[in-house]
Structures are given as C-alpha cells and as structure tokens.
Amino acid sequence: MSDAKYPTGGEFLLQETDPADCFTPEDFDENQRMFATTVDDFTAKHVLPVVEELEYEGDTTLGKGLLKEAGTMGLLMADIPEAYGGMGSNKATIMLISEKIAHAGSFAVTHGAQSGIGTLPIVYFGTDEQKQKYLPGIATGEIMTCYALTEPGSGSDALAAATTAMLTDDGKHYVMNGTKQYITNASYSEIVILFAKIDGDKFTGFIVDLSSDGVTIGAEEKKMGIKGSSTCAIILEDVKVPVENVLGEIGKGHHIAFNILNVGRFKLGASTTGGSKMALSAAVPYTKDRKQFEQPLCSFGLIRRKIADVAAAIFMSESMLYRTAGLLDVAIDTLDKKDAGYDRKSIQQVEEFSIECSMIKVFASEVLALSADECLQMLGGYGYCQEYPLERIYRDERINRIFEGTNEINRMLVPGMILKKAMKGELPFLQAAQAVADELTGLPSFEEPGEPEFLENEAKLVANMKKIVLATLGMAAQKFGMELKDQQEVLADIADITMAAYACESALLRTKKKVAKDGEEAAALMANMFTLYVHDAMEDVSTWARNVMAGTVEGDELRTMLAGLRRLTKHDPVNRTKLHDAIADKVIEAEGYTAE
C-alpha cells in the first residue's frame, strides 16, 4: 500500500506531519464534548454512589445493572454500526468515551469488555444474520457479552489454546470442550466470543450461548484491584454450538483475536489516560489543603515537580492517543460506507496501525503507573489508606500492564511490525535507515546554530529521535537478520525509543497546532509540558540507543556509531525547576490535569 494516499502505520518515522493534519483533543466538536460530560454525569449519578460496594466490598454483581443503565444512555453503542442499532461513531469519539468512563473505576473494565472485546468481533467478522441477531441487543445492554481467549495454559501465547470443537455427525453442531480463564463479565453474560480449535488444529472464533448445557462459570477470582469487575473461568463440557455460530472463517480465528486486541489496545490507551487524569485530580486538591511546616504541600518544590511531571506525561499520552484516533479515522473515511464489506475493511485499516495501537497501550498504561504512584506519594500516609481513592487507583492500575497483551508482548510487536511493513514494501524503511547510518558514520557538519525559534531546538530533538529509531532498528535488523526476534532486550530498547519519538512528536504537533490557532501565549502550558518531557526523554533515548548499539556491534564500528549518536542526542539541559513551576501553577489552579 506504498502508493496509498491515506496514512499508514509507522509512517510517522519516515515523514514529516503537518500539524494541521494532526487530530488533537482541541478539535472535538460540540457533540463529542457533550458525550464527554454525559459520561461524567453517568459516572457521578450511577457509579460513584456504589463505590464502596464495588471497589471495597468487591460486589461483582452490580456490573450487570450498571451495564443496563449504561445501555439506556447509549454508552454501549458507539462501536456498533447504525444499521444494527448503534451510533457508528468514529474512533476519536470511541476513545473519548473510553477515556471518560475510566473515572468509573472497575466499571470501566466491565464496560470495556461489553462494548469493546465482546462486541467488536461480531461487528467486524460477523455475518449479517449474526449482526442482526446480536448487535441491537448488545447496543442497549439487553444482551451481555464477553470475550474468551485466555486459557490456563495459554495466555500471551493465545494461539496455543487447548479448547477443542468437533463437528457432530449430522454436521449441525460443534461439540466444545475446554476451559477459558480470567474472562471479564463471564458471570452475567448471555453470550461469549470464544476461541477453540476445530478438530484440535483449526483455531476458530465462535459465538457461544452461555446458557447452553455443559457450560459452567467458575468462581470469582480474588483480585488485587478492579474488584468490582467480574472475572471468572468458563468451563465447557460437551457444549453443543450450532454451526451457524462460527464467527468468521474456519481456521482464521487468529485474524479475529489479533485485530480485536488491536482495538482493545487503543481503547486501553484511552482508559488509562483517563485513569491518569483521575489520579491527578484526586491528589492535587489535597496538596492545596494539607499543610506541613505551616505551608500547603503544593508549595514544596518536590511536590510541584511530581505534579508537573505527571501532567506532562499525561499530555504525551493524550496527544499520541488522539493523534492516532485521527489517523485511524482518516484511513477509515477513505472507505465506502455503503460497501457490504465496510466493517471488515475498516478493521483492516485499524490493523495498518497496529504499531501505534501497541505503542499507545504500553505508553499510556505506564504513564498511569507513574501517575498512580506519584499521586499516592503526594498524599503520604493518607494515600496508603482506603479513605482516599489513591490506594484503590494504585491497585487498579496494575492490571493495565498485563491484559490486552502484556507490555512485554506489545514491546516486542512494535519493532517487529515496523520491519514486517518494511519487508512487505509498505514502508521505505530500509532506505531511510541506510541514509541515517551514512549520516552517523559520516563527517559531522559544523554549521553555527543561530538564535533558535520557538520550540526549534525541541523540534530538532524529536527529528533526531526518529533518526535514532531508524539507526538502531536498521542496524539491529542488518546484524541479526531473522534472529532479531530472539534479541528481546534490543527489541525492547528500540520499542522504547520508538514510543518516545511518537509521543514527543505527537505532543509537538499538538502544541504547534495550538500555536497556529491561538498564539504562543495560549500554547505556553503545552509548550512547557512538551519541553520538559522531550529533554528528559532524550536522555533515556540516548541510554537505550547506546545499549542497542553495544548489544549489536563492537570495536571501531561501535565507536563510530556512538560518536554519531552523540551528535544526535546532544542537547543543553533546560531549567527544569522553572518548567516544573510554570506547569504546576496551572495544574494546581485547575485542581487537576489541564493543557489549557
């Protein structure tokens, strides 16, 4: 698809993006903004009053009623096409809803299982009959649905599933046997999207009615966090499933599984971004009220630094999240909605961006980890006690680095998919990588820098980060060839460099777009958050890149490469205290995250 006019995944590494083409949260229209406040209102009215039961007593049965309530408000139908009773919303809207629902704590996970992984396989891979039968009910919450891929023996290695499906002699049913584990919402769902191997080898998706004979739902798992969400095993003993309940093609279950994970990942990026904002909102007002040494906590430099660092990290997540939403929407908009294969084609467009989806998942879930940890610390002992929400946010955060593909698995996918696209000729990656390698080993240029323009130095850092991705990945691919997939540490470092580059570029584009629209002064907070982050990130990128190089080449070659790298990573430190102060002032005034 190298000649395609619409964007494709990974392309950001090889080209410049016009800030005007970058979708940002500032671009939300009136309906989207109203959706956002409506989701907040839903949480305030229906979820917060039962927080005690959900989050501390671990009452997992409440999720069902809350889902029904969410259904009547249309909070389950964004992903469902209009023809089947949904809203057919674009990805930016879907992400905004996922971001906002995060404030509902465990219910966000319940909501995600129903409206995301439980719904999308039917939307994208179902037949018209299957869509007619299930989607309208799923949209309103009359039908509860869930998704079962994981088994006791197969988690990350999902395709190693042991559940089997055997065709009956009359050819009308499959008989299924096996155990699925850790299935969100299984306890009250009517149906499940379940993966099993036909004849023990053809990995296939099914829609299984959970009231069928032979289905047993296991006991609730006793979890560390998200205690209000239901997580159970599904045990199948000679369960008869009609052949018309096969989802997609026989033997092509991995298409469904991987594509749904992709969507799940960007949604998780959205909900963790929302979670980070929630953590900051739970901490900042406290730091204003609480006094020690006769001063409010928020006047201490180290507390202000935490506030600013967390806000800047959230700004990064948010910028890359919605930039990706915009890319997906542009790609999907090139399709003809009237085309019978529209839904299937639109998931293919999402697949094009699997690099970005994995990056968002890892980056935003780790920003949430930082936010939860630092915000809890701001409350001291009070943060450690259940009287304040940070104790819960801290526990709830943890799962996000595990499900929807662990962060390790997603890190491996990032460079892997870039190379795959390069091999297929979809990205002119190798040529670009060679050019950077030549630059690194060539003679340095000695042009005297003039007085830099606004953000010019920082923009150069971003451009250099992208070059470093090309240099390190190109080098590793050349050196290790097909064995690169076994060099996990090298791959993880490259993934981290790529994420830093994507995050920083997304934040830069967003800031530039704001400057173009409202001027430098209005974009001051964005510029400060970006500047703070990009300088820190360049230090990390430098370390990661040095490690990749040292793990890949040696001797003179290594020395030349390191010298070239030093030119790319060179940057003068910034006055972090000044930046921290400027950012913290705004966040403290807003009593939570803000980019305004």
Partner: protein, 259 residues
C-alpha cells in the same frame, strides 16, 4: 397540549469563583455553565407528561447569549423537549426578574401555552421570583414549590411543600408551576439523543421581534464581594451535658453577644 418550560443557564455549583476584593463584575470567563438544577425538574416533568401520551409539545424558553445553546441542546432538547426559543437581547444582560419575566411572558403570549413550568429558583441569584411574576403577568393560576403533579381535564392537582407539611392544591389550566426537588428524578440525555437534538428547531428572538420595551430593572447589582472569612470554631467538651450547656450559654452571652 402545549407546555412551556422556562429555564436558565447557571454556573456549575463546582465552578471556582476567584474574587479577592469587591468588584463590579464577576470574571465569568472560566465558568462551566449548566442548566439550573431546579429547571431540570421542570423539564423532566414536562417530558413525563409528554411521554404519558396525548398530543403534547414541549418548548424550552431561555433568555441569554449564544452560549446558552449548548445547555438547551444537551439538557432540554436531548432529554425530550421538542423545540427551543432563545430570547437574545443585549438589554437582558444583567436584567432583573421583572424584565426577564416581561420578555418570557411575551413569548408565552405569542405562542399560547396551556402549562408553564419552571424551577422554584435559580441557584445563581437565588431570587425565586420568575415563576410568580409570570403567573401574574399572564393572568394564569400559579402554584409554587410543587413536589407532585397530576394533570386532569383542564385542571391539575399539585402537592406543594409548606413548613412542617404539605398542601394539596387544585387549579385550573392554564397555569404556571414552579418545581421543587422531589418532584421527579431528572434523566440524563443519551448519546444518540444528543446527536438528534442538533436537528430540533431552535428559534432566536429579540425584544424588538416581540415588540417589547423592557421595563428598567428595579434592582441592579453594584458589587460582588467575597464572603467574610469564617471565625474560629470553638469546641465545648460535652462530657457533662449540663456543664456544656452552661458553658455554651455563657459563650453566646459574653463572647458572641447574641443572647
């Protein structure tokens, strides 16, 4: 049946007001604005009447600048009102209840309504006069502070809160009712209804369109000032209730000098 719901957009009660010293004007640039919560009871009641059946048309009427449109769309049209009328006129900026009621009454007279609902008061200026003045100006029956409503043929029965109990009032239509908490539980809009609300009619009129001369406001706000700083709170040890009561009486008499 035609129902008019008179509503107002007010600052969200969680909006932070930064006011260091007395000022002639509030800096409202950063305010988040919402539908007055008492008006939400009026909207909900009107929509419930409509849903109970029959030919019912619900119109939300609001006075204010362009920015009221978001409130109208999300909190009125998206929850079931059929259309909206905005009275937009620079003269209404900062106008008192008398002027506001004059403008609203003109719209209500122009279109003719059987029932006018509004909140008992708006949470920003807390005056609670609009509904009562409307009743007078329109020469309609008026029942205030209602917590229950039953509509009959050309008449209504309403329960209203009074001190220490409730009063049951029968009235004939047309009537103006002001709605109190407890009347109903206002619903939230659904996402698809927010989208559809954008298609519902929204009319903007000026006082000139209505052929109106507004009465000069009888009251004007001169300055806003922050509330005085709260004094120290004194806690009396209540181990021995009789002694605590004596100490309380002494403090009220000698220190607070209120008894």
């Amino acid at each position: 049946m035609k129902i008019a719901v008179c509503v107002k957009q007010v600052p969200d009660s969680e909006t932070r007001i930064t006011l260091a010293a007395p000022a002639a004007q509030l800096d409202d640039s950063g305010f988040t604005r919402v539908l007055n919560p008492y008006d939400a009871y009026a909207v909900e009641e009107a929509v419930k009447i409509k849903e109970a059946g029959g030919e019912v048309e619900v119109t939300a009427i609001i006075a204010g600048p362009e920015t009221v449109k978001e409130t109208l769309k999300k909190d009125c049209l998206a929850v079931g009102c059929d259309k909206a009328i905005i009275i937009s006129d620079p003269e209404l900026v900062g106008a008192d209840e008398m002027a506001l009621a004059t403008a609203m009454a003109a719209v209500i007279k122009r279109d003719g309504y059987d029932l006018v609902l509004t909140g008992i008061k708006a949470i920003d200026d807390d005056s609670g006069q609009l509904g009562i003045i409307l009743g007078e100006m329109l020469d309609m029956a008026h029942v205030s502070t209602i917590t229950k409503l039953d509509l009959g043929e050309g008449s209504l029965t309403a329960e209203r809160e009074i001190e220490g109990g409730k009063e049951i009032v029968e009235a004939s239509l047309p009537a103006v009712l002001t709605c109190q908490k407890g009347l109903n539980e206002p619903r939230l809009p659904s996402l698809p209804n927010i989208m559809k609300a954008g298609m519902k009619p929204m009319e903007t009129v000026t006082c000139a369109d209505l052929g109106l001369e507004l009465p000069t406001s009888l009251s004007t706000v001169k300055t806003f000032s922050p509330p005085p700083a709260r004094g120290e709170c004194k806690l009396i040890d209540a181990e021995d209730p009789a002694a605590a009561a004596r100490e309380l009486a002494r403090l009220l008499n000698e220190e607070a000098k209120v008894i």
